[in-house]
């Protein structure tokens, strides 16, 4: 496998780790760099706008 393919494979693996799978509501850690700044234990789901749009049904966007 070439270096470029290795890098692509790693990026894809991290994309799946960080942006896929079941989100447990009420758990979020906000970090900058390697420092966890804020733990949120609220009963809400935090996500970026792209992720919300991806998982929303059309009727939810008004």
């Amino acid at each position: 496998m070439s270096d470029a393919e290795d890098e692509l494979s790693l990026l894809e693996t991290l994309d799946h780790l960080l942006d896929r799978g079941v989100v447990i509501a009420g758990e979020a850690v906000v970090s900058i760099g390697d420092v966890d700044l804020l733990y949120l234990g609220l009963n809400v789901v935090l996500a970026n706008v792209d992720a919300i749009i991806r998982t929303s049904q059309p009727k939810q966007i008004k």
Partner: protein, 213 residues
């Protein structure tokens, strides 16, 4: 110590000794125990979790938990996961011998991502972003080829718009069909050299873990 949770599994033997296991009702969570002070954004931890995740999938199919969820023992894990257990039990039993494969393809005509500053309200921006994402599509002939070659190999498949520049085809496939899916991907590469796409997997239950159909 805290457990950085990786997945939900049907059997304890599916986890140990690759990772640590804690019981949640009749199911099991896999994870890696780390010091309470360990930052979750640590690069080495991320890579170790990614490697362990792959090793766990080699043993048995599991429901992937998004990175960042931690538990402190059985009672904490049970309290946090109670609402999910029935669905996890169902998909783990139904999809036991299956894995996911994904094909991410570049959009035929990528749309410019809307600029927040062009909108007076957040809701108008969200609407525009939603519209731009939904209108993204791949070349029709490529989409048809994927439908003709990969979809028949899948137990279930789904297209999803991930952003304004790409589209993703996710397939739930039997483990024994992974090689055939990769062969079909190689054929697509030959037939559509100008379409940038990435076929990857196998992955644990990610897209189809939330299957409500």
């Amino acid at each position: 110590m805290k457990l950085v949770v990786i997945g939900a599994h049907r059997e304890r033997n599916d986890i140990e000794p690759v990772a640590e296991a804690i019981a949640v009702n009749d199911l099991w969570l896999s994870g890696m125990a780390v010091e309470e002070s360990q930052p979750l954004g640590d690069r080495d931890l991320l890579l170790r979790v990614a490697k362990t995740r792959a090793a766990l999938l080699d043993r048995a199919t599991f429901v992937a938990i998004r990175y960042g969820f931690t538990a402190h023992g059985e009672s904490d894990a049970n309290a946090k996961c109670a609402a999910h257990l029935e669905r996890w039990r169902r998909v783990l039993n139904e999809y036991r011998g299956m894995v996911e494969m994904t094909l991410k393809a570049a959009a035929a005509a990528p749309r410019a991502r809307p600029d927040r500053h062009d909108f007076e309200s957040g809701s108008a921006y969200i609407r525009a972003l939603y519209k731009a994402t939904r209108m993204t599509d791949v070349a029709p002939e490529f989409r048809k080829a994927v439908e003709d070659t990969l979809a028949p190999l899948a137990v279930k498949h789904r297209w999803s718009n991930r952003d304004t520049s790409s589209l993703e085809f996710a397939a739930l496939v039997k483990r024994e069909d992974v090689a055939a899916v990769n062969d079909a991907g190689a054929a697509l590469k030959r037939d559509f050299p100008s379409v940038p796409f990435l076929l990857s997997g196998p992955w644990p239950l990610e897209v189809f873990a939330d299957d409500h159909e």
